[in-house]
């Protein structure tokens, strides 16, 4: 099938057959979970039970899954308002995920954060922000703390191509390189900021410009999560060994409207769906499923993994819908420590 030509067989051979299979299964589970979790939101959103604007992750699954797979549990991640995939990569608590989206007391932040500010500090997804670029310098401080405390962890910060247009991004790069902080910048480049194309916003190339600050930069447009995993694994090792901050510049195609649960190619600001046929042919979920088959995993086993995830999603959603809203008194809790 088409994947044979895309999958990098050398990459596969580098690892022993067993770890390779386990790794790819793990990646598939993550990607499948991300996809199905978002599809569940698409399914129920119209019933108005999730009163929170949602910036869905459809299309970017391989990036988040691949990067996070290469991080240790103690490495921290910081994200943006497009944070569902990051949550699902780091936290096993699906109930708290849907609870949060439904604004229930079972939510990871008791419904206060909603979709745009979702995080899970106890799983190392420390913060996300709906103000573009605003977690980037926060991650810098976290990397400083990691070094200060002589811990051997790194910090990964996820952001879009649009975020690189903010001054604070470049200020952060400078400080990170100057102080040799253990930070991995992950630029998820979908070529769009809301409805604006990158060519109408940027007069620089992200990899070239960032490289000039002294970072180690790696660009890719793969939808192969294993490949992203390998790149990240190497980057993390380098950061720990050389103290040079790294930046991964990873392209993907955003399947849906900027915010909301629908496709919006008909709005005309970025061409038609057919123009992105190449991306859909390399869809991260399809890709990884085919890869499992190539690795000799039979359909039944894949089905089993999928069913388990589907069930977990269905149960968590149901629990979230049945859960109570927070009591009024919750409003005034946790304003101050």
């Amino acid at each position: 099938m088409f994947l044979k030509s895309i999958i990098n067989e050398d990459d596969c051979k580098k690892r022993t057959a067993m770890t390779n299979i386990e790794l790819n299964k793990e990646l598939y589970k993550k990607i499948y979970l991300m996809r199905k979790a978002e599809e569940k939101i698409q399914e129920v959103y119209y019933t108005d039970v999730m009163k929170t604007p949602v910036h869905l992750s459809l299309g970017e699954e391989a990036i988040v899954a691949g990067v996070c797979q290469a991080l240790s549990v103690d490495d921290q991640v910081y994200g943006t308002c497009r944070g569902h995939a990051l949550y699902l990569a780091r936290s096993k608590n699906l109930g708290a995920f849907y609870g949060e989206l439904c604004g229930k007391v079972t939510g990871v932040a008791k419904g206060k954060a909603g979709s745009m500010h979702i995080s899970c500090p106890e799983s190392g997804f420390v913060a996300s922000s709906a103000i573009v670029s605003s977690t980037i310098p926060v991650a810098l401080g976290a990397a400083f703390a990691a070094k200060y405390k002589k811990s051997n962890h790194i910090v990964a910060v996820f952001f879009g191509d649009g975020a690189t247009e903010e001054g604070v991004f470049w200020e952060t790069l400078n400080m990170a390189c100057l102080k040799k902080l253990p930070i991995l910048f992950v630029c998820e480049d979908n070529g769009m900021a809301i409805h604006a194309q990158i060519k109408d916003r940027q007069n620089y190339s992200i990899p070239e410009a960032t490289r000039s600050f002294g970072l180690s930069v790696h660009s890719d447009d793969t939808t192969d999560s294993e490949r992203i995993y390998s790149i990240t694994e190497q980057a993390v090792q380098d950061i720990k060994k050389t103290d040079v901050p790294h930046l991964l510049h990873l392209k993907y195609h955003r399947y849906l409207e900027h915010v909301g649960v629908n496709e919006d190619y008909s709005a005309g600001y970025r061409g038609q769906k057919d123009d992105y046929a190449d991306w859909y042919a390399r869809d991260p979920v399809l890709f990884q499923r085919e890869k499992l088959k190539l690795l000799g995993i039979i359909g039944d086993e894949i089905k089993l993994m999928e069913t388990e995830i589907d069930q977990a999603i269905n149960e968590s959603t149901k629990l979230a819908l049945d859960a109570p809203f927070p009591a009024d008194s919750e409003l005034f809790k946790d304003v101050y420590a």
């Binding site: 009163k51 604007p53 206060k112 909603g114 709906a130 247009e165 940027q202």
Partner: protein, 347 residues
């Protein structure tokens, strides 16, 4: 006079001012896309071309300073933000540069800039898409701050703002865009610094800002029906400069003052009004000035807490009853505003 929406009033104003004065241009994130800032900028690029209506990189800080450079060189920028919360990335420029530009040049420079920004609310807009910040901006000498409530205000005040030789911040509540009202055609100005008596009354004054006028109108209607009490509603419309006289005259007449501000209470605009009214109406006041505003918390996402966070007509009704010593009216069966049930006008 034609009945049009708030968004149409803004759109019409931008078109008229751009036609009138070639120095006026409009820019900001998303201003040329198919949604056009809640419809308020639709068609402007087509009409005036990309030189006079354009999007920018996601660089609010630089784009804020950019307006100042253009303005001190004779242009009249209108910078637009989807949310006030994004606009505050330019806070350095507002507070250190815009505000003092004229003063520090000994009156040689002027900065005719309009910054339009949307105040978000509802559907989990949450803590980073819902701020109003007018109290903070008005705190800084050199800035003018305007909150148009009706379509007529939107046209009259935005026109004046564009023609003003100072930085004027225009804050537009998201729920107001759908409101319809009569708006004069052609050239129409409302002076900055002139309050609007939204509803006449003799027994108690409610000073309301932005969306709180809609809540106050609802409250006044209920209070009238349940208690036969006439509430006067005064919308300052501009936070700075402030029309003290209209407010003072109203409170002197009624002897009671509630400030229903669309902002946090602590150190907010409501405190300013309370202090001013207490100083100037001390003898006439029958009860101390009362204030309503956001809960002193970040804005939560989940609806039940969000409802607790925002002041509404119900709290105004209860406050009126409390101040006038009335029995609490039975409010069952009354319909109040929500994200799903927005006021459509007319005013």
């Amino acid at each position: 006079m034609k009945t049009i929406t708030y968004r149409e009033a803004i759109n019409q104003t931008l078109v008229q001012e751009m036609e009138r004065d070639p120095a006026v241009f409009v820019y900001g994130l998303d201003v040329t896309d198919h949604k056009g800032i809640f419809g308020s900028t639709l068609g402007i690029e087509d009409k005036f071309g990309a030189e006079r209506c354009f999007i920018t990189p996601l660089s609010e800080d630089a784009m804020t300073g950019f307006a100042l450079g253009a303005a001190i060189n004779g242009l009249r920028p209108v910078h637009i933000h989807q949310r006030v919360d994004f606009m505050i990335l330019g806070m350095n420029q507002f507070s250190n540069m815009y505000s003092s530009c004229r003063y520090m040049s000994g009156g040689k420079l002027k900065a005719p800039i309009v910054v339009r920004a949307v105040i978000g609310r509802g559907w989990g807009q949450s803590c980073q898409h819902s701020k109003s910040m007018h109290s903070v901006f008005a705190h800084i000498p050199g800035l003018k701050v305007v909150l148009p409530t009706t379509p007529r205000d939107a046209k009259g005040l935005l026109t004046t703002a564009i023609r003003d030789d100072n930085p004027v911040i225009v804050l537009e509540h998201r729920w107001l865009y759908d409101i319809e009202g009569e708006v004069p055609e052609g050239d129409y100005v409302i002076p900055i610094g002139k309050a609007n008596i939204v509803r006449g009354g003799s027994e108690i004054t409610v000073i309301a800002t932005s969306w709180m006028n809609v809540e106050a109108l609802k409250a006044a209607e209920v209070v009238q029906r349940k208690h036969g009490v006439e509430v006067e509603i005064v919308d300052p419309r501009t936070v700075y400069p402030l029309d003290e006289e209209t407010i003072v005259a109203s409170v002197k007449k009624t002897g009671h003052c509630i400030v229903a501000d669309y902002d946090w209470v602590f150190c907010g605009f409501s405190a300013e009004i309370a202090a001013m009214v207490s100083e100037r109406c001390f003898k006439e006041l029958k009860t101390p000035v009362s204030r309503l505003g956001f809960a002193h918390t970040p804005c939560p996402t989940t609806r039940p807490l969000e409802n607790k966070f925002y002041p509404s007509a119900v709290e105004i009704i209860r406050m009126v009853e409390n101040k006038l010593g009335l029995e609490l009216a039975d409010l069952r069966g009354e319909e109040f505003y929500s994200y799903e049930n927005k006021f459509k006008g007319p005013f």
